[in-house]
Structure formats: structure tokens, C-alpha cells
């Protein structure tokens, strides 16, 4: 779960990390008022949860009211990588001499947390990591003890941060780590952490992603998540509502399955047989009829989808309940909107196949056959539209 920049800054500031004065705005007038209040020059920053906002025109500097107004007009309502910008953060621009990067994440290769510092802040840190891995100093943390202050200092000195600012940077990194640990962070990053001419440090951007699985013990963050949903797309909103692991892709074969590995394998097979997946949708383990119907609703909502393949291998999930769900979902349509191919295996698969209304769906016995059939339908249905009931 990702916080918006303005939310992450709120969390960081509360923990004592210095951030610039800022105000959130939803309209041009609010943005102009906010700029007056924090004082020029300001940065007007789109609040959408995508990377590379700056390059895409989502961050604009403004020196006076007319520039602020223009920036807000440009940014509010703009489309940033598929998301409509509904709010901007208007923030006092910081006069800096250096831009650093500090971050904390879980290093899954080492199964332990890692704190990172780089003097190459202010740019895409993943590019730095790929091109010049040595430019990022990494300090692994023993999760039993947490991060000791000496580790923050060591990372900062090893990274080559100027001694005059090093103490403050180490203290920001310590605070960031403690936050990350206390609040079950997935990633916590400040990029750039600006250093001013008089060696003060300020978090000019803020990233805080929270471990979804730990959200239950952080009601404050769960509330922020809900508040931040204004920027979701329609399909994301639906996936959230239904509680699916869903990723939209660019193809036209809708895919529903149970278990991430099997769903990914289904995607791969669609590709293998010359088709193009429209999405990843995992209904999870033990899905009942209603959940199956919701999954179909999701995939039908995607206008790109021309055919759907259902691939269920039952362990906890029961084939007969899946079949019930498919029948229920499709029987409500006069015309089934897109052709659906079903493959059931494992627990109660035979019973499920018997239940399935073959007027509404195509049943296949193997994964390979089901995928091939769906790819074929998608190729033709792309022209013809729905299936008659």
C-alpha cells in the first residue's frame, strides 16, 4: 500500500524529519491560496502514485501568483500515466546545495532490512542502482536488534556525505528506519534529501509504502489509504472493493485463475499461443460462487477484453462452487458480453464440469486447450462483439 507524497510527509514530519512547509489543494484557487500561505517560490506537485512525476510534467516550480495559477491549471486534471490528477501539493521550494538519497527496505535476498544512502539523490535512484551500484551505500540491519545509531553513521560516512551535514543525515536515516520498523514499512525513501547552504537537511520528497499484510495493526495508515483512493482508476477501485490481486495489462484475453503462479502461467501460455493477456486476476484460495461472479464482473468491465479464460486448479477451491459462480454470473446477462472458456481441475472438477451451463461457456479439459481456445475467440471476437445467449 502506497501513501501519497503529502501523506508520507505528514508521517515523516510527525516523527521529526524536517520537511518543507506545504499545503494540499484540490482546485486552482486553493493552490494559489496555498502558495501565498507557504510563500514563493513554490513547487506545485501532482499527487498521484506513479514514479517519474517530474519528467512527465507533474511537478512545476512557480515564482509568483501567475506562475502558480498556471502550474495548477496545467497539472490539476492532467492525465499522468493513466491517472487523473485530482490534487496537488503546494510546497515551499528549498534552496539546496546537495541532493542525497536515503531509503530503507527489505532486502529479500538477505531476508533482512537494509538502509541505503547515496550522494546521487534527486535523480531516478533505480537507474543509479543499475548503472553504478557502488554509488549507493547499503547497511544491512539485524531485525532482532533493529538499527543501531552507529550503523546510520557508518552508512552516511561511507557514502561520502559531507561531515558538516553527516550527523543530521544519520539522524534522519535512524528516524526513517525506526518509522519503517514501527509502522511496518515496505519501502521508506527520501529522494531527494536536500542539504542547504548552511548544512540543514530537508526531505523534499517522501515515499512510504506499507506492508499490506500488516495494515491491520496500523489503523492510522489504513485510514490514510482510504483517504488516498481518490486517485484510483475505476478498475483499481473495483479490485480493491472485491479484494482481488489484479493487474491490468494491455492485451485482450481476460484471465482469471486461482493462485499467483498458476495465473502467471496462464498469462504466459496466452502469450505462448500467440494471444495477449488483458490482465492478471487471482481469486485466491477457497473462492466461493460470489467471488467467482465478482471476478467475471471485473474482467467484463475492462473494455479491452475480447475473451476470457478461467483456469482453476482446485485444492481448497472446489470445482462445483466455481461452476455455480460462473453459471450465476452469466445467467444474469441476456447476452454473455464476451466468450468465456473454462478449465477446471482438482477438487470436485468433474462435478463442476457437469454443472457448467455449456450454452454460456466453452469447457476444455486441459490448460493448453483452454488457453488456445480463448486466444482463438479473442482473435475473432475482437471484430464481432459478444456471444448470443
Amino acid at each position: 500500500m502506497k501513501l501519497h507524497e503529502y501523506q508520507a510527509k505528514e508521517v515523516f514530519a510527525e516523527a521529526g524529519i524536517p520537511t518543507p512547509a506545504s499545503q494540499l489543494a484540490g482546485t486552482v484557487e486553493e493552490a494559489v491560496a496555498a502558495a501565498e500561505s507557504v510563500g514563493y517560490p513554490v513547487a506545485v506537485k501532482a499527487q498521484v502514485q506513479v514514479g517519474g512525476r517530474g519528467k512527465a510534467g507533474g511537478i512545476v516550480l512557480a515564482d509568483d501568483e501567475s506562475e502558480a495559477r498556471e502550474a495548477a491549471e496545467d497539472i490539476l486534471g492532467m492525465d499522468l500515466k493513466g491517472y487523473t490528477v485530482e490534487r496537488v501539493l503546494v510546497e515551499a521550494a528549498v534552496d539546496f546545495t546537495n541532493e542525497l538519497y536515503v531509503g530503507v527496505t527489505m532486502d529479500r535476498g538477505e531476508s533482512k532490512p537494509v538502509a541505503m544512502v547515496s550522494t546521487r539523490g534527486g535523480v531516478d535512484i533505480e537507474e543509479v542502482a543499475a548503472e553504478d551500484p557502488e554509488a549507493i551505500t547499503r547497511e544491512h540491519v539485524d531485525p532482532a536488534f533493529g538499527m543501531y545509531p552507529y550503523q546510520a553513521r557508518k552508512a552516511v560516512y561511507d557514502a561520502g556525505v559531507d561531515r558538516a551535514a553527516a550527523g543530521d543525515v544519520a539522524s534522519v536515516l535512524s528516524t526513517l528506519y525506526d518509522l519503517w520498523e514501527d509502522k511496518d514499512g515496505a519501502d521508506a525513501e527520501i529522494n531527494p534529501l536536500m542539504v542547504t547552504a548552511d548544512d540543514e537537511v530537508v526531505a523534499a520528497d517522501a515515499v512510504f509504502n506499507v506492508d499490506e499484510d500488516a495494515l491491520f495493526r496500523h489503523p492510522d495508515l489504513a485510514e490514510m489509504e482510504e483517504e488516498g483512493e481518490f486517485s484510483e482508476t475505476e478498475l483499481e477501485r473495483k479490485a480493491d472493493e472485491y479484494g482481488f490481486d489484479y493487474v491490468r495489462l494491455s492485451g485482450n484475453v481476460g484471465i482469471i485463475g486461482n493462485g499467483a503462479g498458476l495465473v502467471m502461467t496462464t498469462l504466459d501460455l496466452v502469450d505462448h499461443y500467440g494471444g495477449s493477456p488483458a490482465n492478471f486476476l487471482d481469486v485466491g484460495g477457497g473462492a466461493k460462487a460470489e467471488r467467482i461472479a465478482n471476478a467475471l464482473d471485473m474482467v467484463f468491465s475492462d473494455e479491452n477484453v475480447d475473451a476470457v479464460v478461467f483456469n482453476i486448479f482446485g485444492g481448497i477451491t472446489r470445482g462445483d462452487e466455481v461452476a455455480e459462480g460462473i453459471n450465476q454470473a452469466l445467467e444474469q446477462f441476456e447476452t454473455v458480453p464476451k466468450p468465456v472458456v473454462v478449465r477446471l481441475a482438482g477438487t470436485r472438477a468433474t462435478e463442476g464440469m457437469e454443472i457448467l451451463n455449456t450454452d454460456l461457456v466453452t469447457v476444455e479439459g486441459t490448460l493448453e486447450d483452454a488457453v488456445q481456445r480463448a486466444v482463438e475467440y479473442a482473435g475473432t471476437a475482437a471484430d464481432s462483439g459478444g456471444v448470443e445467449q
Binding site: 527489505m106 529479500r108 535476498g109 531476508s111 533482512k112 532490512p113 533505480e126 542502482a129 543499475a130 539485524d142 531485525p143 532482532a144 520498523e181 511496518d184 515496505a186 506492508d211 499484510d213 500488516a214 491491520f216 495493526r217 490481486d245 493487474v247 495489462l249 485463475g257 486461482n258 493462485g259 499467483a260 503462479g261 498458476l262 495465473v263 502467471m264 502461467t265 498469462l267 504466459d268 501460455l269 496466452v270 502469450d271 505462448h272 493477456p277 492478471f280 487471482d282 484460495g285 486448479f313 482446485g314 485444492g315 481448497i316 481441475a345 482438482g346 477438487t347 490448460l367 493448453e368
Partner: protein, 290 residues
């Protein structure tokens, strides 16, 4: 000797009185698993599926001689349950089925695990099965057939798919290990492969990986350097776009070169591991290897 579990395993089910714990205990008992105890605080003295329940795992080990645990405890309490299992010296295998355990909880469990001699499989895994002997977890027992091919996989239903293909082609399995798809897991591919390498009942191994992390790359190195038992591979997620989380927390492509399907497939092929494009092709490879 079988891998991790077998007919001699004496199993305690942590969380046996919950819905999932109860249902799968019945299934495990029915399969023939030697479930000797359950452990749930406050429920000591009860019985589930004919199995006595104790308040603590230590008591289950002392009173019922349990040496293996399977954890069905809800995610908020599962980290604690793993710690409890690891604190009991008599337990040498802990299989954690629970999905959705906070990652930082698991990183502490992993840290503790390094100080013990126990194997922890999972979390977020379907379990471990030695067909015909014992099943721990939620795997559907009926698709498995005793035989001489080991299987190790990050994914549950993908495991079933591949096992089904194997069984349909008359190829039985020695042991199947679902290692789980979370960012932090106890037993890695390398450790699972090492167990199969030492197992005289395993003639070949199927390894089903996924995008994300570098565990498959490490496994390839291990196979190349140390393994004599042949391995066939499968990698899910070839078509996944970089940076997107695909269900499993583990299945995310970082974009940094490793972690992609391509990197994993190349690494395996460089270690002379044939990688199938489809599950059926994996079985073809296995037939060639046997």
C-alpha cells in the same frame, strides 16, 4: 529416508481448533499422516479429529512426542507461532501454511531460524507431501502418486498443475515441497534441492520458480556446482511487466536485471537445467532425464 516428512513424522498442528486447522487436520489424518497433537492456548484437553489438544507446543512435544509442526494460525499471530515452534528443540520441521504474515514478522522468524537446526517451510505455502506416507498442509492428496521425482515450487496451484501432469503421465513423486511465494521464506530452493540431492529415493527434481527475487538464480548456481540428481525447471511470469506485483509478494520484477523470467531461465539453462515453456513440456523434460 524421505525428505522432510515421512511415515515416522509425529505431527503437531498449531491452530488445530480454527476452521482451516480443523478441516485440514481431518484431511491430513485421512491421508494417513501421523498427527499426534494439536496446540492452541486455552484449548488444552480438547480433541479434534481424535487428536489431543495441548495449550503449548512444548507440552505437545513432551506429552505426544511431536517432532514436526504444521502452522494454521491466523496471520497476526503466526509469527509468534513460528517462534514457539522454533523454541522447542524436539521439533525439527515446521511447515507454515498461513498466508499474509507481515514481512517484518517473518524477517525476525528467519533471523531466529538461523540460530536453530530446524527447517521451516513457508509461510504462504501449500505444504509438504511424501505421497503415500504423510501430508502436511493443504495439498490435495489425491493428485499425488508415490514415485521417484522430487518437486519444489514457490506456488501452490502451479504445483498441483505440474503434479497432475506428472501423475497423468505415470510419473510418481518422492516428496513435493511448496516453499511459498512470500518475500521471506524459511527454506529456499537451494536448501530444498540439497535435501533432494541427499535423498536416495529421488531420481530427478522438478523446480517451479517465479519472477521476483534471486532465489532461482542461486538455485541454478547450486545445481551447477553441487548437484548430481538431474533437475527440470519451469518459470512462471514470462509475460509479467516490470514493477508490478502479481499476487505473491515475491512475484515482482524489480527491473534491475535479476528477478526477471529471462534471467532465471538463462541461469537455469546455463546450469544444464532444461526449462519447459508449458507444464506439459516440463514433464517431457522429466521423461528425458529419468
Amino acid at each position: 529416508m524421505s525428505v522432510l516428512i515421512g511415515e515416522d513424522s509425529r505431527v503437531v498442528v498449531q491452530g488445530i481448533t480454527g476452521g482451516e486447522g480443523r478441516f485440514h487436520t481431518e484431511q491430513m489424518v485421512e491421508y494417513g499422516t501421523n498427527v499426534v497433537a494439536g496446540a492452541v492456548p486455552g484449548k488444552g484437553g480438547q480433541e479434534v479429529a481424535g487428536v489431543p489438544v495441548y495449550d503449548t507446543v512444548a507440552e505437545a512435544a513432551a506429552e505426544a512426542d511431536a517432532d514436526t509442526s504444521v502452522v494454521f494460525v491466523p496471520p497476526a499471530f503466526a509469527g509468534d507461532a513460528c517462534f514457539e515452534a522454533l523454541s522447542v528443540d524436539e521439533l525439527d520441521v515446521v511447515v507454515t501454511i498461513t498466508e499474509g504474515i507481515p514481512t517484518q514478522d517473518m524477517s525476525r522468524v528467519y533471523r531466529r531460524l538461523q540460530e536453530t537446526d530446524a527447517y521451516l517451510v513457508g509461510p504462504n505455502c501449500p505444504g509438504v507431501i511424501t505421497p503415500g506416507e504423510a501430508k502436511l498442509g493443504i495439498l490435495p492428496g489425491n493428485i499425488f502418486e508415490a514415485g521417484r521425482v522430487g518437486l519444489v515450487s514457490r506456488s501452490g496451484t502451479l504445483t498441483y498443475q505440474v503434479v497432475d501432469n506428472l501423475t497423468n503421465r505415470g510419473i510418481g513423486q518422492s516428496t513435493a515441497i511448496g516453499i511459498g511465494g512470500d518475500p521471506i521464506i524459511g527454506t529456499s530452493f537451494v536448501e530444498a534441492l540439497a535435501l533432494f540431492e541427499q535423498d536416495d529415493r529421488t531420481d530427478a527434481v522438478v523446480m517451479c520458480g517465479e519472477i521476483g527475487g534471486e532465489d532461482e538464480e542461486r538455485a541454478a548456481e547450486y545445481i551447477d556446482e553441487y548437484m548430481t540428481t538431474p533437475v527440470a525447471g519451469f518459470i512462471a511470469g514470462r509475460t509479467a511487466p516490470p514493477g508490478k506485483r502479481m499476487g505473491h509478494a515475491g512475484a515482482i520484477v524489480s527491473g534491475s536485471g535479476t528477478g526477471t523470467a529471462e534471467s532465471k531461465i538463462t541461469a537455469l539453462e546455463d546450469a544444464d537445467v532444461p526449462v519447459g515453456d508449458t507444464p506439459e513440456q516440463v514433464v517431457d523434460h522429466v521423461e528425458d532425464l529419468l
